[in-house]
């Protein structure tokens, strides 16, 4: 429908006469005068009954338009001049082309989706890609944009407008909360730095663009792939980045597959192994004995590279208070965070615990 409306908007800039498109029941679906849209033309029935493609009333000329074998639309122009028929024929051809292109775009989108989901045979991808004028040998990267169910449609519309040039990116909806951007990354195939800048700028642009419209989203960034047939890998990586990011970096809106760090390792571990590790580091659920103040202190102590002065300054507490809290951690857990080995063990165990909590919550959600 949008492509027909677009044709009408462009017709308005060329022709100074009122032109419109109706469905076969006479409902005006697009017109050079938007006020006519939604109105019904009672002549439509007679036009459809007529054997001739063209018909007319005192001030209007009509033309039936077939898409494929069937008449799908009726075009009209507010004129009974002989030139009116020529105009209608030209506009009809224009609309047919636009509708056909739209069909091709939809097929191309479906094909890309199938490649992402590994529903296409690897050998057939380059052949089909050629049909849709997709260059297989260009570097690409996949971004997964996750929004709320309510915002999904708006996110898609905004991103389709942001990347309206199909050469630079393909934007498609995977489901009502997930929008995929397959981004052409040819300009970033140089150095590591260039890749980093490309990812940071692109992801930040998408985030800011959506935030600007009052939409909160999380973005998973996949890995670079050099062939179109491999975008499914980048998609898988982006999904993993999103999941791992959500577990370990909840305050982070952009999660990159290449920057997942320890989170990636822990995410691969089986739950039983994780539980064994926790039982070993925190016997008798020692972690639960730590209050909020102590946990904040530990986080700050880690963030300040185990520097006591910096930590006490940041927390506005006396150094002795900090020492007291760290001693309490040692007493409760057996780990002295001032020692590097114990600090590493505590950090890893905290992350493993976060992961186990996530598994527990997801299990609860599944049951619900």
């Amino acid at each position: 429908m949008e492509e027909i409306k677009k044709c009408m908007r462009q017709t308005k800039t060329i022709l100074k006469q009122d032109v419109g498109v109706m469905d076969t029941n006479g409902l005006v679906i697009a017109s050079t005068d938007p006020e006519n849209e939604g109105r019904t033309d009672s002549s439509a029935r007679a036009v459809m009954m007529s054997d001739d493609v063209f018909s007319g009333t005192a001030d209007r000329t009509y033309m039936k338009v077939a898409i494929g074998e069937q008449f799908k639309y009726i075009l009209y122009i507010q004129s009974d001049e002989p030139s009116a028929r020529i105009y209608l024929e030209l506009i009809a051809e224009w609309i047919k082309t636009a509708v056909k292109e739209r069909g091709t775009d939809a097929e191309k989108e479906l094909f890309t989706k199938n490649v992402l989901l590994e529903n296409e045979l690897q050998g057939e991808i380059p052949i089909k890609a050629r049909e849709y004028k997709i260059n297989c040998s260009e570097a690409r990267i996949v971004f997964v944009v996750r929004s709320t169910r309510e915002d999904g449609a708006e996110v898609l519309e905004i991103l389709q407008n942001f990347y309206s040039d199909s050469e630079s990116a393909c934007v498609l909806a995977m489901d009502e909360t997930t929008t995929i951007i397959v981004l052409n990354a040819e300009e970033a195939i140089g150095s590591e730095d260039e890749r980093n800048i490309f990812i940071e700028n692109s992801a930040k642009s998408v985030l800011d663009c959506l935030n600007n419209e009052g939409l909160t989203v999380f973005i998973g960034v996949g890995s670079f792939v050099s062939l179109f047939q491999h975008i499914s890998k980048s998609y898988r990586d982006a999904m993993l980045a999103l999941r791992v990011g959500k577990i370990f970096e909840k305050n982070c809106y952009i999660s990159r597959y290449d920057k997942l760090g320890l989170g990636r390792l822990i995410y691969q571990l089986p739950a039983t192994l994780c539980q064994m590790f926790i039982d070993e580091v925190f016997p008798n659920e020692a972690y639960k004995t730590l209050d909020d103040d102590t946990i904040v202190t530990i986080e700050s102590f880690f963030a300040n590279n185990l520097n006591g002065s910096e930590t006490s300054r940041e927390l506005y507490v006396h150094r002795n208070t900090l020492v007291y809290r760290l001693d309490k951690v040692k007493k409760n857990t057996g780990l002295d965070l001032r020692s590097f080995d114990d600090a590493v063990l505590f950090k890893m165990a905290s992350m493993v615990r976060t992961y186990l909590e996530y598994l527990e919550t997801s299990k609860d959600n599944m049951i619900r």
């Binding site: 407008n161 040039d165 930040k204 800011d208 009052g214 909840k250 986080e299």
Partner: protein
């Protein structure tokens, strides 16, 4: 146009990280408030909580009399401008400005009216048919501002909007945004890490550090009466000199001594808060412009005069910075008048402190001793 109120607002992340702590602020209608502080101080998080892009962990935010904690970002009647212009590359300037209104299904006539009005305000009417690629950085920033203006919001939120511009353009856009605030007569909340931006644009400045508000005041008050060493050091360029000094009280006279230099403080310092610290160490703060090498001033103020070795002289045209060392160990920065200063590298120079413009801070708490 709207007033804002932050009441005991906290942002806590899972795992115990507290990004914003007990944030309390009242913003009057049409005010231009700047949130300033170093990276990671919680200023952007505060702005994002106001925008609805971050959840509020505790406390309440009001726009006028309405609590907006649970209001969707779209329904808060605010507009944001980011560092990243996030313009739609394939749309014209006009379409870029109109896009959010189209999403809201606003009538075409109203969209056109708002876009042309905003374009007129920003003086970009001649750019309406261009695409972002054909615009300079400053013009793109204006378009981003235009996108915010067309929404006719109650509050404008700006998150480091000038960071992508070069120094010269930044100065120009600073003036433009200030003018825009006067013209639109709307509440502006502006986040920056740049203290010059903060000092030149805001009617009030909120200085933040580690998630806490340090001081909320007008630019002049912040500069003249900082409440602690952080604010004193953060505001002003070159930053304030901090010297470990000792208070000495002799009768009703108060002196501070450091590195064999003794400075007699004016009478207004002869108050209980200072006198009771006789013999104690304090942090003595002096702004670079409060130390001068002007011969007449030095002669007239023997109580605050001392000598120093000149290490570096930086001539900036309208002013000169002297980097000196007192007693071979205490580095100080002075801002002197290039038309009168004769100081050169390697010389021993006579300097004097303007004792009316000094600051005293507690050594442990780093808070100002005299409020």
């Amino acid at each position: 146009m709207a007033s804002l109120s932050f009441q005991h607002v906290y942002k806590k992340y899972d795992g115990g990280v507290v990004a914003v702590s007990d944030f309390n602020l009242e913003v009057a209608d049409k005010e231009f408030v700047i949130l300033v502080g170093p990276s990671g101080c919680g200023k952007s998080t505060t702005l994002r909580m106001l925008a609805g892009l971050e959840d509020i962990s505790e406390g309440e935010i009001y726009i006028e009399d309405r609590v907006i904690n649970d209001v969707l970002p779209k329904d808060r009647d605010i507009a944001m401008v980011f560092q990243n212009y996030a313009l739609y590359p394939h749309m014209t300037v006009k379409d870029n400005m109109a896009f959010s209104l189209k999403l809201k299904k606003m009538p075409k006539e109203e969209i056109n009216r708002r876009v042309s009005e905003a374009a007129k305000i920003l003086e970009i009417e001649h750019l309406l048919d261009r695409k972002p690629k054909a615009l300079s950085g400053g013009q793109r920033q204006r378009v981003a501002l235009g996108r915010a203006i067309v929404r006719d919001p109650k509050v404008f939120l700006m998150d480091e909007p000038l960071s992508n511009l070069d120094a010269k353009l930044r100065v120009q856009m600073r003036v433009e945004i200030t003018k825009l605030h006067h013209r639109l007569k709307t509440t502006f909340i502006y986040v920056t890490h740049d203290q010059t931006e903060a000092m030149t644009m805001g009617t009030r400045i909120v200085v933040m550090k580690d998630g806490f508000i340090q001081q909320v005041d007008s630019p002049t008050e912040l500069y003249d009466n900082p409440v602690n060493t952080f604010v004193a050091g953060f505001i002003g360029m070159p930053p304030m000199n901090f010297i470990n000094a000792t208070i000495n009280v002799e009768g009703s006279d108060v002196y501070v001594s450091f590195e064999n230099v003794t400075v007699r403080l004016p009478e207004r310092y002869a108050v209980e808060e200072v006198m009771e610290r006789d013999g104690q160490e304090v942090i003595f703060g002096v702004r670079p412009e409060a130390i001068t090498d002007e011969a007449t001033f030095v002669t007239d103020h023997p109580d605050t005069a001392f000598s120093a070795d000149v290490d570096v002289v930086e001539m900036l045209g309208a002013e000169t910075y002297l980097y000196v060392t007192v007693n071979g160990s205490l580095p100080l920065t002075c801002r002197v008048d290039p038309t009168t200063s004769q100081s050169a590298v390697g010389q021993v120079v006579d300097l004097a402190i303007d004792a009316n413009r000094i600051h005293l801070f507690d050594k442990d708490t780093e808070q100002s001793i005299i409020s």
